[in-house]
Amino acid sequence: MKITKAAKEYILKKGGNIYIKYHDIQNCCIEPNLTPEVFIGIPKNQEKYYIVGVDKINVYVDKIIYERELENLTIELKSILGIKYIAINGWKVI
């Protein structure tokens, strides 16, 4: 997993912990494979996550996501209307 320089600085400023959450949606007609979401902080239910260290940052990863799937992911810093947030890129839908 990669964390961009700007994202790294932002995360470290916010405490150095992030978590990646996968949403399992049940549905008729489609079996959605949605891109996971990334948030600043430590997740509430830590037992549902495993920890990976990336550039001095603790990344709590939803256990539904394989470690090998992390290879393609990049955490980036984005902003909308001046509000900064982190986002994930590189998730494979198929």
């Binding site: 959450k21 949403h23 399992d24 949606i25 049940q26 549905n27 008729c28 007609c29 489609i30 079996e31 959605p32 494979n33 949605l34 891109t35 979401e37 509430k44 239910n45 037992e47 549902k48 939803d62 256990k63 539904i64 980036e76 984005k78 909308i80 986002a87 994930i88 890129n89 590189g90 998730w91 839908v93 198929i94």
Partner: protein, 598 residues
């Protein structure tokens, strides 16, 4: 005829089929190995790979396969009379649908929980794998259009219905915020709050209807289509935790509640079936579905008899949770039969209405006038449910009216008809909107992937111009289909694409049986495959020449041809492989022994 007769026949046929046919396939054909380690143990991670109690997993699988489909299709097919639909639901579920679900679940379990696309690529070849992937994307757009149309027809000119459904958006957003910031991960608390607010929104409906707000909540079909497509756009752009996830929690509970309510109502009230066994429309010219009973009943009723979409669930989350291979029988075969039972209940609800009333609901007033029928109970039914229900095709309204009619026979419930009706409409709309939310978003991802090959920044999932453009294109695509279509054009396309996916999955099932070294049993999937492929390809051809071309609907012609070609590619590719393996002896004994299916 008493509805109880159909209930008893369905229960008996399904019980016998489960006990004998399902058990035969499990023991002799697929030969489930109860000592084999399943992916749930092999990759156990406490989250998606979780060994799960078979009855819990049965509930999970059933909730994932059963949605609006088993309720809407049988209602529309009731135009042919109750018999064709009932037979297809009985025979189709036993010989095609349940077999399809079980073989694909087995294949996915043996492939460590892989998707149907991956399994096809590995077992049949790259050509079929790519064709399956493209077919799945096309089918996604068509599915959203078909389902959105049901919502449009249920909500136009209905301020009460529109209010209750619109209220689910702030309710879901509140739940999302509650689970994110107020009480993180308190799913139970959020669900209790959400369900309570939903019920309140249904109760508040009649009051809203008599206020100035009603004017702002009354839309015609075209306006409603634009609103839904716009909603789909925002749902694809907003974070998942904010709208999609909480809405999913709400719809799952409501889905199970409504299905249970329907079964209880039919069994307690035992309504009389008023629709004849066969109507004149079996020969074609029906006002809802214009084609003949063959092939159209087989594409109108998909979920409940055979549904290709189930292959996505059977190769999705369920295989990762199977504790023991012998659980595949109750979970896949059993859940499909349970869905068949729900479809039968929906058919009963529709056919218990007086035929003229049924047709008045399911066709436009102009078409109804040409039928020369006279409504009987419709004014009373409209009063009972608090809406003018005439000219609202799509199945949801008929089901709501049928259920309300059945429940009005129970003492103390006769005055709650309007609330019950709106609750059923809310359920269908809520469930369909969840599909639209997720489907538009997935479509957006796929467009971004594909667009990234032409213009690299598009591939960036967080690049706002790209997000906005692809979300717009996706919601525009299905919105355009709904805007220019109607139930007679879109539902057949929806049914066709679903059944062709079913045919693709049954072809894969045949490959599985051959590679297992049991070609003597390949008829189990081959016969339903040939029937479904032939029937559906013929229906797709008829759709083009008798429905879309005369109406000048080029887009639907192109979509139909694309799906037909993809299916033919997969069928030919599979057939060539079967020929080589069986006739040319290219499938060696060693290869069979080394196969994951052994």
């Amino acid at each position: 005829m008493s509805a109880m007769v159909l209930v008893i026949i369905a229960a008996s046929v399904y019980a016998l089929a489960y006990r004998f046919y399902g058990a035969f396939i499990a023991a002799k054909v697929l030969a489930f190995d109860e000592n084999r380690t399943t992916p749930a143990y092999k990759f156990e991670n406490g989250y998606d790979y979780v060994p799960t109690n078979k009855w819990v997993l049965f509930g999970h699988h059933f909730a994932a396969i059963a949605g609006a489909g088993p309720l809407v299709g049988p209602v529309l097919a009731a135009q042919f009379g109750w018999l064709p639909g009932a037979l297809w639901i009985l025979i189709g579920a036993v010989l095609a649908g349940a077999v399809h679900d079980m073989v694909i679940l087995f294949a996915s379990v043996r492939h460590d929980g892989s998707s149907i696309i991956d399994i096809t690529r590995k077992e049949v070849g790259k050509v079929s794998g790519v064709a399956t992937a493209i077919a799945v994307i096309f089918i996604l757009v068509i599915a959203m259009a078909g389902l959105a149309l049901v919502v449009v027809n249920a909500l136009y000119n209905s301020p009460w219905g529109t209010f209750t459904v619109a209220a689910t958006i702030p309710i879901a957003i509140f739940m999302g915020i509650y689970m994110k910031w107020i009480r993180p991960d308190d799913v139970k608390g959020a669900t209790i709050i959400g369900v309570t607010l939903l019920i309140l929104s249904v109760v508040a409906g009649p009051y809203i209807e008599h206020t100035a707000l009603a004017h702002y909540l009354t839309f015609n079909q075209k306006e409603m289509t634009i609103i839904l497509a716009t909603y789909g756009f925002f749902a694809a752009v907003l974070p998942v935790w904010l709208l999609l996830v909480p809405r999913d929690y709400l719809s799952t509970y409501m889905k199970l509640g409504v299905m249970l309510l329907l079964a209880i109502g039919v069994i307690i009230v035992n309504p009389t079936i008023r629709m004849p066994a066969i109507t004149e429309f079996v020969a074609g010219g029906g006002p809802i579905i214009s084609g003949k009973v063959w092939p159209y009943v087989f594409i109108t009723i998909a979920c409940g008899a055979l549904s290709g979409f189930h292959s996505l669930v059977s190769s999705g989350t369920t295989p990762k949770m199977i504790k023991n291979e012998k659980d595949i029988l109750p979970i896949a075969y059993g859940a499909m039969l349970a869905e068949g039972f729900v479809a039968m209940m929906a058919l009963i609800a529709a056919t218990s209405l007086i035929p003229a009333d049924y047709f008045a609901i399911n066709v436009t007033p102009e078409v109804f006038q040409k039928l020369g029928m006279k409504v009987v109970d419709l004014p009373v039914l409209s009063q009972l449910v608090g809406e003018n229900v005439a000219g609202r095709p799509g199945g949801a309204v008929t089901l709501g009216v049928g259920m309300t009619f059945i429940f009005s026979k129970i003492p103390f419930l006769e005055h709650l008809g309007a609330y019950l009706y709106h609750f059923v409409i809310l359920f269908e709309a809520l469930f369909i909107l969840t599909t639209i939310d997720a489907g538009t978003r997935i479509g957006r991802y796929l467009l971004q992937e594909a667009g990234g090959l032409i213009y690299r920044p598009l591939k960036d999932r967080n690049w706002w111009p790209g997000i906005i453009l692809t979300s717009f294109l996706m919601s525009f695509a299905w919105g355009y289909l709904v805007y220019g279509g109607n139930i007679s054009t879109i539902w057949p396309l929806f049914g066709t694409s679903n059944q062709l996916l079913g045919a693709i999955a049954l072809a894969l099932g045949t490959t599985v049986i051959i590679k297992k070294g049991k070609p003597q049993y390949m008829w189990i999937t081959l016969i339903p495959f040939i029937f479904v492929a032939a029937t559906t390809l013929y229906a797709a051809y008829l759709n083009i020449v008798t429905n879309y071309l005369p109406k000048g609907n080029t887009l639907l012609v192109v979509l139909s041809i694309a799906i037909i070609l993809l299916t033919i590619i997969i069928i030919i590719d599979s057939a060539i492989k079967w020929y080589r393996w069986l006739k040319k002896g290219e499938l060696t004994k060693e290869a069979i022994e080394a196969s994951v299916f052994n």
